[in-house]
Amino acid sequence: MTRNHSYDEERIADLIAAMPPAPAAWVKAAQQLPAARAEMDEIVARAEADQRFREAAVADLEAALAAEGYDVDRRLLPALRERLGA
């Protein structure tokens, strides 16, 4: 399809308006993904090395994480449960 790329001010304004910013919290959460993934890797490694922590995490993941001072994004908990076999 060939599109006509002639511009007037109204068209330019419409194109600028077509992309409002995403909510800042969404952007921040996405930017923190690498750190969150690294923390998940650390938790999984810890669970593999520490049987007591693993049992506590399988029994009640959120409580086990809180007890150890981890502050994991709630959206990552299902993936973490899966990795821990919880």
Partner: protein
């Protein structure tokens, strides 16, 4: 060079090497694009749009190694977002292959407009004297002259004329470009 000016392919390569600043910029660069697809084209409810938004960037992060052409990250993210939106609309929990679906027919013009809007934003980066910021705040964030003036420490009474001048500059730059854009950072 500011990461905002780095081409898509270079940005992807840096992300693959674990560069957090590059990842921040990649999310920044495509966040509006993904948000516009979820919220303006597919009109997902806010919580569904947020789910798709996060899933898009999660999969992007996890699958950067699968990207065959680093410069094609924008269409790759676009396709991924569309698939996840369609899946959300179907109410499914799994991503399904893209296919023609009468129930959720896609508006090709809307996608083309978004691609063009993304390209326009690249041009905005080259504008002088707060132009990009002023145009974005006024048209995309719907801010008043007063709010813009206070945020940028500019007399509110001059905002209208600045918008007009900035739009004229945008027009000149856009019309000086080739008909087909090379969007986002290229």
């Amino acid at each position: 060079m500011s990461l905002a000016l780095v081409a898509d392919a270079d940005l992807v390569a840096r992300c693959r090497r674990g560069d957090q600043e590059a990842w921040n910029e990649l999310v920044n660069r495509f966040s509006r694009y993904v948000y516009a697809i979820t919220s303006r084209i597919y009109r997902l409810e806010s919580h569904d749009a947020e789910d798709v938004f996060q899933e898009v960037f999660t999969r992007t992060y996890e699958r950067l190694d699968e990207l065959r052409d680093d410069s094609a990250v924008r269409p790759w993210i676009g396709t991924l977002t569309r698939r996840l939106c369609l899946d959300k609309l179907r109410g499914g929990g799994r991503e399904q292959p893209m296919e023609e679906d009468e129930e959720f027919m896609e508006d090709g013009d809307a996608f083309a407009d978004l691609d063009e809007a993304l390209a326009v934003r690249q041009v905005m980066k080259d504008l002088p004297e707060h132009c990009a910021e002023i145009l974005d705040r006024f048209f995309a964030r719907d801010e008043s002259y007063k709010t813009i003036g206070e945020a940028l420490d500019i007399p509110a009474g001059t905002i209208a004329s600045r918008i007009s001048r900035c739009l004229s500059k945008m027009k000149s730059k856009l019309e000086g470009r080739k008909p087909r854009f090379q969007p986002s950072g290229s």
